[in-house]
Amino acid sequence: NTQFVPSRRMGLCDPIHQIVMWDDFKGSDYLDSSPAMMLDFEAKPEQQQVFSKNNTSGASHRYDQEATKPDKVLRRLAQNREAARKSRLRKKAYVQQLESCKQRLVQIERELHQAKKQGFSAGHSSETTTPHHGGTTLNQCVVAFENEYRNWAEAQDRHVDDLKRALESNAGDSELDALVERGMKHYSHLFSMKASVAKADVLYVMSGLWRSSAERFFFWMGGFRPSELIKVLAVHLEPLSEQQRLDVSNLRQSCQQAEDALSHGIEKLHQIIADMIVGGRLGDGNCHLPEISAAAGKIDSLVRFAGQADHLRQETLQQVTRILSPRQAATCFLAMSDYFRRLQTLSSVWSTRQRQTT
């Protein structure tokens, strides 16, 4: 709560109040980065330049020590301060660069370890643009799936462009119907791709490893949760007729019930597998190989669940297109792609953010 008492000299303040202000800033970060306070009430007018407002050395705490020194010394001290400041900034920038390199290295190490563990070539996260072959044994089905999925995603992008064009140009119902039909077939194709790779490695499918991290966070049984998707789409579908509103609400409820039922089934499977591998003596890892091998066989039951989840997704899309007009249905497919795209962006933003955190 100091007040500047304007001095006879330009822009200078009362020395006693200056001291009080220095005490205010002592021990704070202010000293290093703030613009310089008015300094040195004893300095002659021509030397005020050195300690002018534009001098960002900000070392107001030194002024009272310098008050009695000759100006050559004062000039040198100011230059030293400036050099020191620049050096500190350079060091800070270098350290920040090192930190972000370190983060990147940690991430690369993690991805490599992951790829080796799963024994297939990476590219399962959309944040890495170049897949790297980290695994010593490649799971051919998974590699084939990931390649096919990349093609699928490109075809999907083209479909989305067509949808956008048709909607913007006020295309007729039959054209929109055809586009919606194409969208449905495209998703059908994805589900049959997933069914194939599930036979080879169902845990890969259930974990959604070919998708980005944020998408996987929202995943349920290896894909989008149908009831959640309906909520997302509803945002873009207004206005809906009363009948449509009712139908959409019933559909969402039915999806939720079906999802819950399947989730209960998975919980039961968890329990069964846990019961198989737990028990017996602690620390005897190798002893339990028979039980663990049996448990691995039980994991095969997941294949039917993965199939049921995709079947539910397909049926949901089918019902949605039945309830809505061609235009609304086309908007739905556009909204769906957009939603997944945003989740992928979220993943990228998230991983970039992690790398920058010191």
Partner: protein, 98 residues
């Protein structure tokens, strides 16, 4: 197959299941949520189980378990039950039994 027809006609809602089948359990949970109480018959604990399984396959049941019968008629396996539920066709069938 006789045993299947008998079980189906005697019970409003019948699920032919296996004790180890978690998908069968999932379908049971769905019916529970819909407030009906199907009779669950585990064919792996039935001496005629193998025959029943073959019969279900012949009837076109994709599971073959779970096999769901409502009002004595085969509705299907999980696929069919889920499709019907999403399309709104299941609840009316269950109405008399709720």
């Amino acid at each position: 197959m006789e045993k299947i027809s008998k079980l189906a006609s005697e019970n409003g809602i019948l699920i032919l299941s296996k004790s180890t089948c978690c998908l069968c359990y999932a379908v049971q949970m769905l019916f529970k949520e819909l407030r009906v109480h199907p009779i669950v018959h585990e064919i792996d604990h039935d001496p005629e189980g193998k025959e029943m399984e073959k019969a279900l396959v012949r009837m076109g049941c994709s599971g073959p378990v779970p096999a769901v019968f409502i009002g004595g008629k085969l509705v299907g396996s999980t696929n069919e039950v889920m499709s019907m539920h999403l399309s709104g066709a299941l609840l009316p069938l269950l109405g008399p039994y709720q």
